[in-house]
């Protein structure tokens, strides 16, 4: 049987169908069950639909003020998003007055008990007006439903529509209360559809060229987008619209005018690419810029589409010349190291093959908190025979895996990181990154560097006190054979 029941899941046997061990001979539709509700009490790593809408999709926009229609908690937490930096540059050449506006401010309606009893519409209305006053520079106002507003039934769309006319700027309501759907994935879905229905096609870009691309599902985590942007620029392509890293409200409104859409995060944003294709006939291709090989391959495909093959080759050549020698050094060190990729969405399949092929690592387990079937199909293709694929993992499963399999490194989120450390296994944050960006040629080098610095951090060889350490009698002090990162040529 390709499914595996962890020992710790003895009491929740339904977990068995979420844990799949890859066998190359299995039929294609044999993979972990996914996109279903989490077993209550199982310490899952999932977030809610609200987190998916605000935290992932819209929180990366640089000129929008966000008003969370909630008691104070959801608003407070919506402030702690991923590292999505934004520049002040606007599509019309002007500058937005507040840098990283999206990281600096989050607003809410601070619902109280009386609002829950009598409804929160009045408060929402006033709050949106206040938001327009407090941040006149903001191009638009987005407002979010939460569990509370979803349950008391406030008609947020009505208020948004009314105020769009009254305030003279777009006010958009996102109806993705926390309890919607099995995971944050539902929030991505709702946000994509809301943006498409409400915004896409409502404006025209200041100018167009035959080389306009739309970059979809790229959120500029730790500056990822800026790396990709430099490649496209050098290839003579222009990013017309970004969805939604370092993007603007207006870019979203005219994203239907791109000549080709590139879909980076295929879990959270394929929805909108599909909708645009259907209505506006803009084709899209799925792209993969993690690792040097995928990056080169995808730049070539894009170059070919626009007749810019030579330019693509130049970008690839330039970057490879810069990163290849250093990557070689890390490859030597990372060779054979056993690693888990426990990402939120698609990084598990983006990174599995590159870590093995380009760095010689051994990916023995991958997981996703909110992936759907299409994602697991790709994940299954890209891991090797015997690798474990876990849907919606919980912390006890991770513990069991660590104690039995002893990986050298785990790529996961902050919630798993510190527990894995307690069990003696270094963990890199793959959601927000450690010292990113991790995308593209330079980014893959950063990832390799981070993996190296974690695995070879001297502390992991000193976890326990030893009364009689090996070789202590012969050598006093430091032995020369002791390998620390300081002694490795960093190739700089």
């Amino acid at each position: 049987m390709p499914y595996k029941l962890f020992d710790v899941d003895e009491d929740i046997p339904e977990r068995k169908k979420h844990t799949y061990v890859k066998h190359c001979s299995d039929p294609e539709d044999c993979m972990p069950s996914c996109n279903t509700k989490t077993v209550p009490g199982s310490m899952s790593e999932r977030g809610c639909a609200f987190a998916g809408a605000k935290g992932v999709i819209t929180g990366a926009l640089k000129d929008v003020v966000h008003v969370v229609h909630s008691p104070v908690g959801c608003t407070y937490y919506a402030g702690g998003t991923k590292r999505y930096p934004t520049s002040p540059d606007m599509p019309d050449g002007s500058k937005f007055p507040i840098e990283n506006f999206n990281l600096k401010y989050v607003c809410g309606t601070d619902l109280m008990e009386s609002d829950v009893v009598f409804g929160g519409m009045k408060k929402l209305r006033q709050s949106l007006i206040d938001a327009a006053q407090e941040f006149p520079e903001a191009t638009a106002i987005y407002s979010y439903a939460t569990c509370t507003t979803g349950l008391i039934g406030d008609d947020m769309d009505a208020v948004a529509k009314e105020l769009t006319a009254e305030l003279g700027k777009d006010v958009v309501a996102f109806n993705a209360p926390g309890f919607a759907g099995p995971s944050q994935s539902k929030g991505h879905h709702i946000a994509n559809h809301t943006i498409f229905d409400r915004l896409v096609g409502t404006q025209e870009p200041p100018s167009t060229t035959p080389y306009d691309i739309g970059l979809i599902g790229e959120y500029n985590i730790d500056g990822d987008l800026w790396i990709l942007e430099s490649y496209f620029k050098e290839m003579g392509l222009r990013i017309l619209s970004r969805f939604s890293g370092d993007s603007t409200h207006n870019e979203i409104c005219f994203m239907h005018r791109a000549k080709l859409n590139l879909v980076r995060c295929q879990r959270s944003a394929t929805y909108i690419a599909d909708l645009i294709k259907e209505k506006y006939d803009v084709p899209y291709i799925n792209v993969d810029f993690f690792s040097t090989e995928y990056c080169a391959e995808n730049l070539r495909t894009i170059g070919k589409y626009f007749g810019r093959e030579k330019e693509a080759e130049k970008v690839i050549g330039d970057r490879m010349a810069k990163v290849a020698p250093e990557l070689e050094i890390y490859k030597e060190k990372l060779q054979g190291k056993k690693v888990y990729i426990f990402s939120g969405g698609p990084k598990s399949w983006h990174l599995a093959t590159p870590l093995e092929k380009e760095l010689g690592m051994d990916v023995t387990a991958v997981a996703s908190q909110f992936e759907h079937e299409d994602g697991y199909v790709k994940m299954k293709k890209r891991v090797k025979e015997g690798a474990l694929i876990v849907d919606d993992p919980n912390s006890m499963e991770l513990e069991e895996m660590i104690s039995k399999d002893r990986p050298d490194l785990i790529l996961a989120g902050i919630k798993e990181k510190y527990m894995a450390h307690k069990l003696g296994v270094p963990t890199i944050m793959i959601h927000s990154y450690e010292n990113g960006p991790y995308i593209g040629f330079e980014g893959f080098l950063n990832l390799a560097k981070d993996m190296y610095s974690y695995i070879y951090n001297p502390i992991w060889s000193m976890l326990e006190f030893e009364e009689n350490p090996a070789g202590s009698e012969e050598d006093e002090g430091l032995t020369e054979s002791l390998e620390t990162p300081n002694q490795v040529e960093m190739g700089k």
């Binding site: 710790v8 929740i12 509700k37 989490t38 077993v39 209550p40 009490g41 199982s42 899952s44 790593e45 999932r46 977030g47 809610c48 987190a51 909630s70 008691p71 104070v72 908690g73 959801c74 608003t75 407070y76 937490y77 402030g79 702690g80 990281l103 600096k104 989050v106 607003c107 809410g108 309606t109 601070d110 109280m112 008990e113 829950v116 709050s127 949106l128 206040d130 407090e134 569990c147 509370t148 349950l151 209360p177 926390g178 309890f179 919607a180 759907g181 944050q184 912390s395 006890m396 513990e399 069991e400 919630k415 990181k417 510190y418 527990m419 307690k422 069990l423 003696g424 976890l463 326990e464």
Partner: protein, 462 residues
């Protein structure tokens, strides 16, 4: 004549809140129980966001379960979810205690969590014939919707729920109950250190020090499941009914103390946190009042070292400097009093949450320091920002949420409170007690030296 000027929020909108939700506080209280697990009855975000916040502040794991409410529960109620959640936790983790914490969603759909927990406990009892020990697991309902109160009222309800459910009268003990408030492991350890010097046995309700600052020792760290070391045991909480008294070290978290006094005649003292010299003095006097202990030389020497530090440096480097403080009401009143002791001026104090004692406390501090204080009451970080831009200060004191503002304005920020995620080690060192005050004094003075003296380097010549 000095006084306070209370400034309340004029807009309806809240921008960058200076408070968060009740469930977070309740989870914090439950995390301080030995082998205690919080089980949030709500949507998945309700546990995920709090785990994220604890993890980034403490850089420690925070195991918090959730009942995963979805659309069906919104329609039909969440009974199945909480029942299954508690049973799964009980079977898989075998904790000593589960805190069943409600949220906005479970409260609005009208779930009777007390009833559900009772039913589940009965089921656990039946199941214990097959799986030993399930009937021994305490399951405590904690009602904490986020549309009421804030994180520290949630903490208060958490502590009170634990005490109300567990405290049992028995043989009187010499112990003193302490409700530390939402403080850091370093603070709790400092409180324990003070008790040790006075020879008093303390009973912490609850003790988050070890759970949130736990050693990395793979050979002894219990795996499968991972529980951090430490925390107050269920038996200790039971015994809290028999102590000599209870001191709540924050004015917002006295409900548990009051409850013990009412039910079991355990005298309650509810005071400001022992931040700074005079507040720590008051803490010692309170302990003496309850236990009639001697105040030994060892602790008076620690006090003397703090006095020495202040005497040596405060007048030269700190006098007259203006400070703006933001955060929880008790932390900010404590800090305001302390900066006053240093000869600085707490010209503005901003708090996000409602607290009855806040304004009177600030009034008192204003008289003590002779400084007019603008009090931003039930305000947010945006109001703080607007105020500071118009009324410049020399220093800011508060959690990391003010870091970008401090950077923009070039004002040194002394990181105090929750959360601090852009510096390391702040949760490990105390701000309470004489030692905590000494450390704060050093942080404040060194920031002043770096910002205001180093640019003209000759001023640092002795």
């Amino acid at each position: 004549m000095s006084g306070i000027n209370v400034i309340e929020k004029e807009r309806t909108l809240i921008v960058n809140p200076l408070k968060t939700c009740q469930p977070l506080g309740a989870m914090y209280a439950v995390m301080g129980v030995h082998h205690g697990l919080p089980m949030v009855h709500g949507s998945q975000g309700c546990s995920t966001f709090v785990r994220y916040n604890f993890a980034r502040h403490f850089r420690e794991p925070a195991e918090i379960a959730v009942s995963s409410l979805h659309e069906d529960a919104a329609v039909f109620g969440g009974r199945k979810n909480i029942n299954a959640g508690i049973k799964n936790l009980a079977l898989r983790f075998k904790p000593d205690l589960i805190g069943a914490i409600t949220t906005c969603s479970s409260e609005i759909i009208g779930d009777d969590v007390f009833g559900f927990v009772d039913t589940t406990k009965k089921e656990l009892k039946e199941m214990s014939q097959e799986v030993k020990g399930l009937d021994k697991i305490e399951v405590i309902p904690i009602p904490t919707p986020s549309f009421v109160g804030n994180h520290f009222t949630g903490y208060d309800i958490g502590v009170k729920s634990l005490v109300d459910a567990l405290a049992e009268p028995g043989e009187p003990t010499e112990k003193v109950n302490l409700i530390p408030g939402m403080v850091n492991p370093g603070d709790i350890r400092e409180i324990k250190h003070i008790l040790a010097l006075l020879g008093i046995e303390g009973l912490l309700l609850t003790d988050t020090s070890d759970p949130f600052d736990s050693p990395l020792r793979p050979s002894v760290t219990p795996t499968e499941p991972y529980f951090p070391k430490g925390g107050t045991s269920v038996d200790e909480i039971r015994d809290s009914a028999n102590s000599q008294g209870t001191i709540a070290l924050c004015k917002y978290a006295g409900s548990g103390a009051n409850s013990l006094e009412k039910k079991y005649d355990v005298p309650a003292i509810i005071e400001s946190p022992p931040i700074g010299l005079q507040n720590t003095d008051q803490f010692l006097r309170n302990l003496k009042k309850l236990t009639d202990c001697e105040i030994p030389d060892s602790i008076l020497d620690e006090r003397g070292m703090l006095v020495d530090l202040i005497a040596d440096n405060a007048a030269r480097y700190l006098f007259d400097r203006k400070v703006a403080i933001y955060g929880d009401p008790d932390m900010t009143t404590g800090m305001a009093r302390f900066v006053g002791e240093l000869g600085m001026e707490p010209t503005m104090v901003c708090t996000g949450a409602n607290s009855k004692t806040f304004a009177p406390d600030m009034e008192k501090i204003s008289k003590e320091t002779g400084c007019d204080i603008d009090v931003l009451f039930e305000q947010d970080m945006r109001s703080f920002e607007v105020y500071v831009k118009e009324n410049p200060v020399d220093l800011m004191i508060g959690p990391s949420d003010g870091r970008l503002l401090a950077q923009n304005l070039g004002i040194p920020l002394i990181r105090v409170g929750f959360p601090v995620y852009d510096r390391i080690g702040y949760h490990r060192h105390p701000i309470v007690g004489y030692n905590g005050a000494a450390r704060l004094m050093e942080l404040i003075t060194n920031s002043v030296l770096e910002k205001y003296y180093e640019p003209s380097h000759w001023k640092l010549q002795q």
